[in-house]
């Protein structure tokens, strides 16, 4: 009972540490070299490593605008990743269908409205549909496949994906639709902020998205931390058999988790749909959640949020300042590149638990 707190080992530089030191030294060298005029403007090293930062300092308003845009898409990535994390934690399933759930939820909402259902009622009904979906998944997919290897459950979520695509097209048609943002009282237009010698323009819908996402995440965190069901959810995430032994019903927890992920998907779908339109093409964006998960760790909710923001901002800054050097269009793969670099240094993610295998 005496030493319950493990003492931290003394600081020592690991291989990763040395790599970071080397990187820092290289950056310092570059800065010195460019300031002292050793590397002239136009020199390839300057174009690649120094000039983009010069641009950032020269036009701070553009930098702020870029970061803001990055944060906004980051919030949406974070929301999709959050859906993944919830399901992964509670049922150990990597839910490939999360992206399609976003589209399906948004499509249900818009489709119902097209059929003449008032917007707010359609919203309630869409939540109801996500609940039915959660019950269906639990009853017809998870329950029969319980205790099967993870890969089989993973494959099953591919099945769910195609069922949802088919169902969505059958009921609501496959053509892209307009999000009913006005009917849902979502703001339109932009706010122009005068700052740093220029203008930064913030879309009101983006501000709304950030506020709603923050509120939802806070509510979820509170729910997980302080309620009986939240405690049961965390318990199931840690150990299925121990959870069963204290009388937690896995089936009930799975329904709750898939329903929660469904609601998160609906909110994501509304926000994303309001910025572009509602179509199945949206689901490919959901794949961006993968690098977010690698960054944040598959089991960490704060990780999903921070990871989403890092990917969002990193992507936009990369595209804006470094994209032109290679002819642009790096936004689509930069996220995966960042994730790959991350895997080399911190495979467990920012907030994931360090993986220690006992052998």
């Amino acid at each position: 009972m005496s030493a319950t707190e493990a003492r931290e080992p003394p600081m020592r530089l690991t291989a990763t540490g040395w790599t970071l030191v080397a990187l820092a030294a290289a950056v310092a060298l570059l800065v010195v070299a460019s300031l002292s005029g050793l590397i002239a403007k136009g020199h390839p090293l300057d174009t690649l490593f120094v000039d983009p930062f010069r641009q950032m300092v020269d036009a701070p308003d553009l930098l702020v605008q870029t970061i803001w845009e990055g944060l906004v898409s980051g919030v949406l990535y974070a929301l999709i990743a959050l859906g993944f994390v919830l399901i992964f934690k509670a049922s150990g399933v990597f839910n490939f269908a999360q992206g399609i759930m976003v589209v399906f939820a948004a499509l249900t909402l818009v489709g119902l409205h097209e059929m003449g259902v008032p917007a707010l009622l359609a919203l309630v009904l869409a939540v109801g549909v996500m609940f039915v979906l959660a019950v269906g998944v639990e009853r017809f997919v998870l329950r029969p496949l319980v205790n099967q290897p993870d890969i089989i459950l993973f494959m099953a979520t591919f099945g769910i994906t195609y069922v949802l695509i088919g169902l969505g097209e059958l009921v609501f048609g496959g053509n892209p639709k307009q999000m009913i943002d006005e009917q849902l009282f979502l703001p339109k237009g932009a706010i122009e902020l005068k700052m740093l010698g220029g203008f930064v323009s913030l879309q009101k819908i983006d501000i709304a998205a950030a506020v709603i996402a923050a509120a939802m995440i806070a509510a979820l965190a509170f729910f997980f931390q302080h309620t009986r069901i939240g405690r049961a959810l965390r318990a199931v995430a840690d150990s299925h058999k121990a959870a069963l032994s204290v009388g937690i019903s896995l089936n009930q927890i799975w329904v709750i988790v898939w329903f929660t992920a469904g609601v998160v998907a609906l909110v994501t779908g509304i926000m994303w749909g309001a910025r572009s339109d509602v179509s199945f093409a949206l689901s490919t964006i959901a794949l961006k959640a993968l690098p977010v998960l690698i960054l944040g760790g598959f089991t960490s909710v704060p990780g999903a949020i921070v990871g989403g923001l890092i990917i969002g901002v990193g992507e936009k800054i990369g595209e804006f300042y470094w994209g032109p050097l290679v002819g642009g269009g790096i936004e689509s793969w930069l996220a995966y590149f960042i994730a790959l670099a991350f895997l080399l240094f911190r495979p467990q993610g920012l907030f994931g638990e360090k993986i220690i295998e006992r052998i």
Binding site: T4, I229, S239, A243, S245
Partner: protein
């Protein structure tokens, strides 16, 4: 703390659980073959046997993890053949595991609170806001949990994530979580495995105290024969999935078949 097991119909000494003719197999492997025994209210019942004798499978059958192909189990007078673990837990069966199964990311307190899951009844709506009935309920349960923490002398690790605790303490937390369910029947799967002498003595004391103070019926699997003989009122011995002896520790110790099972038969 209220005495665990609010079941007043059974007097000490009555049969709390009876296992009749249970057989369990996995494909072609027979884990348990036609085993019958009973557990009386208030006793400490040991299940022993060499490795692979089917002891853990037996516990898994009792708490609903495994469903036997044949046989019946009667608990508190109700007979069943198949039961889900959450239902078994709701009826008053708690257990610990051979290789500690805790919620590693959660604190000691939260782990033991999780044992109160089934006792919490406040409506979902109030829980969402942690207000009104939900708050009152949480406080009441917290009180019970704090008493268990005192009882097991783990006050100092209340807020520590259990994954960081040494093995002996993890076993104690696991016992705490099972106690929080205030069970009628407590199943302990090798509660002292991997412990040093001092930890074993502590654990033995806790098991006896639980049994004496709260009258909780306990069924335990244990390999340390000294511990088994000291703690238990009656012992059932399994070998290769069959029951080979059943009785008081002293009887069992002298049983020819049991000695052969443990020491081997000369050829």
């Amino acid at each position: 703390m209220r005495a665990p097991g609010g079941d007043t119909r059974l007097a000490p000494g009555d049969v709390l659980l009876s296992v009749e003719g249970v057989s369990l197999s996995f494909g072609g492997v027979k884990a348990i073959t036609d085993v019958s025994f009973d557990i009386r209210k208030g006793e400490i019942r040991a299940i022993i046997g060499p490795n692979g004798a089917g002891k853990t499978s037996m516990l898994n059958v009792i708490n609903g993890f495994y469903h036997p192909q044949q046989g019946r189990i009667t608990f508190k007078g109700a007979t069943r053949q198949k039961m889900r673990p959450s239902v078994a837990a709701a009826q008053g069966i708690a257990r610990t595991f051979q290789n500690v199964a805790l919620f590693k990311g959660m604190s000691t307190l939260d782990n033991i609170m999780a044992g109160r899951t089934l006792k919490m009844r406040s409506p979902f709506f109030w829980q969402l806001f942690r207000h009104g009935p939900a708050l009152t309920e949480e406080i009441a349960h917290r009180k019970v949990v704090e008493e268990i923490i005192d009882f097991l002398e783990i006050q100092a690790i209340r807020k520590t994530p259990v994954g960081k605790l040494p093995y002996g303490l993890q076993k104690r937390v696991e016992l705490g979580r099972a106690l929080a369910m205030q069970p009628d029947l407590l199943l302990l799967d090798e509660p002292m495995a991997g412990m040093n002498l001092e930890e074993k003595e502590d654990m033995s004391r806790f098991i006896l105290d639980v049994n004496n103070q709260y009258g909780t019926t306990i069924a335990l699997i244990e390999h340390d024969m000294g511990v088994v003989m000291d703690l238990s009122d009656r012992v059932v011995v399994l070998e290769y999935g069959r029951k080979i002896a059943d009785g008081a520790p002293d009887e069992v110790k002298r049983n020819k078949q049991v000695i052969d099972a443990y020491l081997g038969v000369p050829h």
